[in-house]
């Protein structure tokens, strides 16, 4: 190796370790060194142990150097970690977990945690394909899959990851319509971003693997949030209006059916009623007729008198025995009937007795009286 060519062990900073197999050699080296020191400052004979203040300092420095080199060369690599070893700057090997050694100063060892899932969150507004703006937040989870690539290939791999994810996200959102992004597209969007991010990362040879992309939120920007909420409310309104109308329909139709049923029942009842009445009345008439035909005179007389009796028994009456009376009669009919007209109408209910009927009857009675008066006079004259 080029390094070792120019000088002896003394020139190698780590040479001390190589020469020292045990304490005796160390003593020799120290002695030699002290000799040299002595020679360097040139005043004292070489054999003397009067090396002034320099001897112990050099010894201590050497011991510290050796210990530091030992400490540096022994490495404990955790189960979660892997280490990249660069020997003289060149990639040498990748070390797994356990107690690992390296050459001090020649080797450089870079440890990275390769099992920890790291996460980065992105959130921003972006344009969709239909030139709307949506607010999308994702988180990208990733692990170091190739520690050598991770350490050696890309400067600042973490921010490269963020850039790749951001670019992938924008690309996918930019190729989707807003409605898709906000609703059913969430799942597929995340997986598209995942694949695309991974593709970008692979092209850089970055040694990172995206384990999962979560779409944490996709919604309309603050500025138009209320309009979007209103759409949701409008949808609810639609359902509500329909329900209300159905409530109305469900209310009136059965009610109408009930009413129809009642009408039919009433009509049926009427039919039965009138037919029954007719049968009854007809039967009554026919039976009476049989008896009447047997003895018409008597039956007729009896019936007439019965009926008139029935009528006269119940009504107030004025009997005019004209022979003993005056030619002029005053009948305060209005007083007798007057106030009762309305009463009698209402009392008589279904009977067709009105004030005009009453007038008619009264007029007939008066006519009758007037007609008979001459005959009365005649009879008087005859007496």
């Amino acid at each position: 190796m080029a390094w070792n060519e120019p000088g002896g062990n003394n020139q190698d900073p780590w040479g001390g370790r190589r020469g020292n197999d045990g304490p005796p050699d160390l003593d020799q080296v120290i002695k030699k060194a002290m000799d040299k020191m002595g020679g360097l400052f040139g005043s004292k004979p070489p054999a003397g142990n009067s090396g002034g203040g320099f001897g112990p300092i050099v010894v201590i420095a050497l011991i510290i150097g050796v210990l530091a080199a030992l400490y540096d060369s022994v490495n404990i690599i955790d189960q979660r970690e892997q280490a990249v070893v660069l020997r003289l700057g060149k990639y040498y090997e990748t070390l797994g977990p356990g107690l690992q050694f390296k050459l001090p100063l020649i080797d450089t060892l870079i440890k990275e945690n390769v099992t920890r899932v790291q996460s980065k969150s992105l959130k921003s507004k972006m344009l969709t394909e239909d030139e709307n703006i949506v607010d999308v937040a994702i988180s990208v989870q990733y692990v170091i899959s190739d520690v050598k690539d991770y350490v050696l290939n890309v400067r600042d791999p973490q921010s490269s990851l963020v850039q790749a994810a951001e670019s992938a996200l924008r690309h996918e959102v930019g190729s989707s319509e807003m409605h898709f992004v906000l609703t059913e597209g969430r799942e597929s969007l995340a997986s598209e971003v995942h694949a695309r991010t991974q593709k970008y990362l692979d092209s850089y040879g970055i040694g990172l693997t995206v384990s999962k992309v979560n779409l944490e939120g996709a919604h309309a920007p603050e500025e138009v949030q209320d309009a979007f909420l209103d759409v949701t409310k409008a949808r609810e309104d639609e359902v509500r209006l329909r329900n209300e109308a159905e409530t109305y329909a469900n209310g009136i139709i059965p009610e109408a059916r009930g009413q129809a049923q009642r009408q039919l029942e009433e009509a049926n009842a009427y039919k039965e009623q009138v037919v029954a009445q007719a049968i009854g009345e007809a039967s009554r008439f026919e039976q009476l007729l049989v008896e009447y035909q047997r003895s018409p005179e008597v039956t007729r007389e009896r019936m007439y008198i019965d009926a008139v009796q029935g009528v006269l028994a119940k009504t107030p009456k004025v009997l005019m025995d004209v022979e003993g009376g005056n030619n002029m009669m005053y009948l305060p009919l209005d007083k007798i009937v007057g106030n009762r007209v309305s009463d009698s109408v209402s009392e008589s209910g279904g009977q067709h007795l009105t004030a005009s009927d009453l007038d008619k009857v009264t007029r007939q009675v008066m006519d009758e009286i007037r007609q008979r008066q001459p005959s009365i006079r005649r009879t008087r004259e005859a007496r």
């Binding site: 400067r155 309009a227 759409v231 109305y248 009408q263 009509a267 037919v275 009926a307």
Partner: protein, 290 residues
Amino acid sequence: MSSKGLFASIFVLLLLVVAANSLFIIKETERGVLLKFGEVVDENLKPGLHAKIPLVHKVRKFEARVLTLDYNPQSYLTQDKKPLIVDSFVKWRIKDVSKYYTATSGEEISASRLLASRVDDGLRRQFAQRTVHEVISGQRDELMQDLTKSLNQVVLADIGVELLDIRVKGIELPERVNEDVYKRMRSERNREAREYRSRGRELAEGIRADADRRQIIIKANAYRDAEKLRGEGDAQAAKIYAEAFNKDREFYSFVRSLKAYSETFKSEGDVMILDSDSDFFKYLGTPNAK
């Protein structure tokens, strides 16, 4: 003895200085060029330990890893003359080390500046050939590949740099256009909301009207059936009456009149003014009448 010691010491020091100046390490993450009196003699030093002659040779080391050029958002005009604010980044790597050294004298900042102006130029050209819609949606990949390919040859020849990737992180509309977009989005949503509500009302009205119609039909049918039944009843009754009464019409009218009289003068309010001459009173004055 003392002069020998001194000499030895000086020699050791000299050796140290020479060694420090003649040995160097190129790390895995670096590339180096070896210069001899300023002239490039080895343009691609691999990682590892190397030796050089002090004072004669000089070494310049450059980054070998993938680098990122992430510059500020720029405003570009599209084919349809709409401004877009584009945030992009470039992944690049030093490929031709000696070219890179000569073009940039090894300074990353100046390399970035050169690269940025070229990418910027290229993006501006690409955007000018496309509409907003094309830029935003489908053609992003195509746009970037075109640009990467065409720029790659130029920058490799000019500054010894290889472009891995040009990516657009964000394409935004300028703030004042954003407002318009929000307005449009709002109006679209309003339209949609209005449609839902109107559709709800439409449906509701239809349902109500249908219910009303069914109600009216039910009632009308019921009326029809009821009247039919009543008519049947009336007809049957009339038939029965006619059959019975036709047996003796005179007697029927007598009976019916009597019934009518008694029905007519039922109330106590009715007043009758009678002449004693009537048939009913024929025995009232004279027991032996007629």
